[in-house]
């Protein structure tokens, strides 16, 4: 009896040990598009398993073609999914060295859809706030659930329905509504155990009377960069026009004429300075001060007649004008002229 008891105890403990090291495969159908079978849920495997599977009809087990990796270990396998595959038993086999673990899976309810997309809200005349969306799959087998909250209060959830629209009758004024939707396969078609994740939220602000979403922000923010760009371009065009009109003045200010000191000043200046010969340049030029006399009338009879008054300025003009005719001559500045001129 003792022997039997100890053998029994040993057997149980060995089984327990086996149970710890037996990997457990969990398969989930994603969006009715593909299947993810993972064997790492309890712990990351320390060994690399080879994965095989078959769907009843094919006698042979096929090896996984798309392994899912994590830290260089295979943690799962991605399988293709064909319509109604979830109603067939999926057999999986994990192999490592001489050990193999076989499991049968009933995947009918093991479906998780992608969240609904393209949410939109509009107000109609009833008044009624209408929410519309698209499910990730186009089939009558999907039911959706809506939740909404007013001004960030508690969420209110609708009963699931096959429609892709939801209405809130008599929406509150001066309130902000936020909506989210999720979906799953309905009961008649073989209900999925898991709901999809909640969709991206959409908001309705009754004061602004328009549709705003969290992702894109308010409609005003779209216009801001457009308006600033238009403004910048207008300013640029105006400044170009201004510059074009005042180009001569600006050119004079910005780019003054700089004399070229490259030429030797001893050279004949006449050669590079563009003046006509009529100007009769004289290298040894002495400026002649032209005498200017000013006369003022002194009334003698006591009455001044303006029409008769003559203010004549006499200058010794002959001296000033005749110097160009005789190019080489110079006129000395006489003391007489000096006295007369400087006043």
């Amino acid at each position: 009896m003792k022997m039997v008891g100890s053998w029994f105890f040993l057997l149980i403990s060995l089984q327990g040990y086996e149970a710890l090291s037996t990997p457990n495969v969990n398969c989930l159908i994603i969006n009715l598009d593909y299947v993810n079978c993972i064997w790492s849920e309890q712990r990351i495997p320390e060994v690399n398993f080879t994965f095989f599977s078959n769907r009843f009809i094919k006698g042979n087990m096929e090896e996984c073609t798309t392994y899912l990796q994590e830290k260089s270990y295979a943690v799962g396998c991605r399988l293709s999914y064909n319509k109604s595959d979830r109603f067939s038993t999926l057999t999986t086999k994990l192999v490592h060295q001489s050990n193999s673990y076989v499991q049968n899976h009933n995947l009918k309810s093991m479906v998780k859809l992608y969240p609904p997309v393209n949410l939109s809200v509009e107000m109609n005349k009833d008044p009624e706030l209408n929410l519309y969306w698209n499910n990730s799959r186009n089939t009558l087998c999907i039911e959706s659930e809506v939740r909404y909250r007013i001004n960030n209060n508690k969420w209110q959830t609708s009963t699931p329905s096959k429609e892709q629209k939801y209405a809130v009758a008599f929406p509150l004024k001066s309130s902000r509504y936020e909506f989210q939707v999720r979906a799953r396969v309905n009961s008649i078609c073989g209900e999925s155990k898991f709901w999809s994740e909640w969709s991206q939220p959409i908001q309705w602000d009754s004061m602004k009377g328009n549709n705003i979403t969290d992702i894109s922000g308010s409609s005003m923010s779209v216009w801001k960069p457009v308006l600033s760009l238009v403004g910048t371009m207008t300013l640029f065009i105006l400044s170009c026009m201004l510059v074009y009109r005042e180009r001569e003045r600006l050119r004079f200010i910005l780019i003054p004429i700089v004399p070229n000191p490259g030429k030797n000043l001893d050279d004949n200046v006449e050669a590079w300075l563009p003046i006509s010969k009529e100007m009769c340049f004289q290298p040894n030029f002495t400026e002649l001060a032209c005498p200017v006399r000013e006369y003022s009338l002194v009334p003698q009879t006591g009455s001044v007649s303006e029409s008769e008054s003559n203010l004549s300025i006499l200058t010794d003009q002959s001296d000033c004008l005749s110097f160009c005719s005789s190019s080489a001559s110079t006129f000395p500045v006489t003391s007489e002229n000096e006295q007369a001129g400087i006043e």
């Binding site: 009843f56 009809i57 319509k83 109604s84 109603f87 067939s88 038993t89 009918k108 089939t139 009558l140 087998c141 008649i188 078609c189 073989g190």
Partner: protein, 127 residues
Amino acid sequence: MDKYIDKVEKSMKLTEVIKELRELNKSVEHNGMMLNTPTLDIEECCFLSALECFQTMVPQLKARQKKIQQKVVRNLKSKLLRSVVSCNREEGKNKACQGCDSYPLKDSREFVKQLESLLQKALNRLV
């Protein structure tokens, strides 16, 4: 357009039968009765044969509501339903489907569940 109407009619019929089956299930005394239950792990073209096996077994269920039981049997025999489940005739001739007795024995709860799955599979293929 005809195909669309046909599709709608068939899906409505299938929905109706699934609902009736659930109603029947509520009135059945599941006291451990064992029935040959066809599996869904069979060739496509054997589905009609499997449906026929189910249909012959349903009257054996101990149901309090006899009317609903008869209605389910009548619907399982209907041409419309059979047209959904059946496959291409040529393929059907070549495949040999197993007899009703060869299917494993399962309790009545499992039997009803399997029948529902068969109907749901047909519905999923349709929509």
